[in-house]
């Protein structure tokens, strides 16, 4: 039972880290390597809102993802729009942005373990004889809410349908009057906001540290690659597969191997089954 509960928590955390990355890539084929940096950035943004600007807790929790979304829009409009279509430049440019954000934060004095966010709900509950703190339940709740919200957004609203249209067939969508640039901006804003939301739910479980940015980026890439880049169902399932395997590694092995499992999963997936667990044939073509 403990394995089941904590494995689920771990999986949903991975999902929260990875979904923004997957969304951006799935919609506009833009690898946002600044994803991890945006995650950490929104953590520190929330911290500044609460501790320096003295905003109420709830307002900070909303403001930080919005700031991240704004950052995402900036990244697209300033950087990505000019190099779109050149894969190598996209990867290098976004990676450079991410590096600049993370190391800039470190230079600005945000290091050490003195930065943390308070959990949304304090306390520990006991369910099925397993003690679990409430923040971890919030994580699971946020994950479910996020998935439901995205489902509604992409199936009911016009802009959401446009996102799916571009993802399925860019040229046909453009012929029907959907502006690819606008959609990509929205996708990047949404993806960055999701990174922010992920950060708001996960950060209270530990400290806000810059190194987290690199870890989140690697986890996000791992989940997306294993699930098949761009495939949403694949992302969810991959998050669970990797989440449980991570939990089991920590529980029955050495915690050092946690990262090794993720990295091996990526390399093996790409070598053995490059389309990922649920990738489509079309994606296979562009990979190999």
């Amino acid at each position: 039972m403990e394995t089941l509960i904590y494995g689920t928590v771990q999986s949903v955390s991975l999902l929260l880290m990875a979904f923004g990355f997957s969304l951006v890539y799935g919609v506009s084929r833009l690898p946002n390597f600044a994803h991890g940096a945006l995650f950490v950035f929104s953590g520190f943004a929330a911290w500044i809102c609460i501790n320096k600007l003295h905003l109420p807790y709830g307002a900070a929790m909303v403001a930080a993802p919005l700031l991240a979304a704004l950052f995402g829009v900036l990244i697209y409009q300033v950087v990505l729009r000019r190099v779109r279509g050149m894969e190598m430049s996209e990867v290098i440019a976004t990676y450079a942005v991410g590096l600049a954000i993370l190391e800039g934060l470190r230079w600005a004095g945000f290091r050490g373990t003195s930065y943390s966010l308070e959990p949304m709900f304090e306390g520990v509950g006991i369910y099925f004889d397993v003690p679990i703190d409430n923040q971890r339940l919030v994580v699971v709740g946020m994950g479910i809410l996020m998935m439901a919200g995205l489902y509604v957004f992409t199936h009911m609203t016009k802009i959401g349908l446009a996102l799916r249209g571009i993802a399925q067939d860019e040229q046909a969508a453009m012929m029907l009057g959907i502006n690819s640039d606008v959609v990509a901006t929205v996708a990047l804003a949404l993806g960055s906001a999701l990174a922010g939301i992920g950060a708001m739910s996960l950060m209270p479980l530990g400290n806000i540290v810059v190194e987290e940015g690199y870890k989140v980026l690697i986890y996000a890439i791992a989940v997306c690659v294993v699930g098949g880049l761009g495939s949403w169902a694949g992302t969810v399932i991959a998050a669970f597969v990797l989440g449980f395997s991570q939990y089991l590694t920590v529980a029955y092995g050495k915690s050092h191997y946690q990262m090794v499992v993720m990295l091996l999963a990526v390399i093996l997936t790409l070598i053995i089954r490059p389309s990922g667990l649920f990738g489509k044939q079309k994606q296979l073509e562009e990979r190999v």
Partner: protein, 334 residues
Amino acid sequence: MAKRKERIDRGIKVRSESIYALASWEEIAYLVGPRSLLIGGMLLMPLILLNSPYWGRVFLSVCIFACLAIAFDFLANVVGLVCLGGAFFYGVGSYASAIINTKLGLPPLLSIPLGTVSGAVICTALIYPCLPLRGIYFAIVTLMYPLLMTRVIEAADIFGGTEGFRGIDGFGSPIIESYALVAVLLLGLFALRRFLAEDPGLVIRAVKENDQSVRASGISVAWIKTQAVFIASLFGCFAGAYYVHMYKNVGISSFALDLSIMPIAAAVIGGTGLIGALIGAILLVPLSEFLRDFGTLRIVVYSLVLMGFVIFRSEGLMNYAVRKYQQFERWVEV
């Protein structure tokens, strides 16, 4: 009246391309000048810096990073494989050389070449399974390789674990130390450029442009890519092997992120075409030394510079300079 910019080759460039290259000293100087400036400068630098060991070391790191940048540039712009994990080559090379030196007791002048070749064989064998991958997928896998090596060494506690090896032999004299490196760098660069100008180079370029046509010609794409990765690993592993003997120790920092990013930045700033990578390293490494006092600000600076170049000057400084050297521009009415 609308105007557009017109670019025309300079007369001297056209003349010196043909037999008239030998017609006058001016043409000879036009051809030989920039080349001898670079080669002469590289050869004189160790002598000039003989009295300041610190900047001498910085110059040697320029050469080390130039090797890594050349490896990246060759893979990315000639073969079409974007490798974000230059540190992987570097780390494997440094560990291979360190093990050969400490366990077999061979002197540096033997352990460096042996470490380079054996490291390159190991790198090629490990990267071989991912060679069919393209674009960002290859980039992602190669980004993961150095990270994986660090974690495996840390977790399994092999090769000295987090401590690494100490007590590796040095070179003894600083003259040998610097000239061996500069000579290998220049010869390697020259050899690679000659190689790419010959028939095998043509096939390697074709793999980037259109791999289906290469396959249709009955040439194995995988084999060509394997050769290319081996060549790039030779450069990367040599850098690692050399550095180990300069600083006499090795640890998991040989797989650090810095070693992957710096060469990429150098190659992007310098521009494609191998020499550009060298120019980029010459500019970037001293800059990063100047900024060393500012802590991680230097990473911010060079990632912003990198971003700026990717967006606004993607041809790189070298190609820009070459264009200015060979052509003049003027506005003409359309």
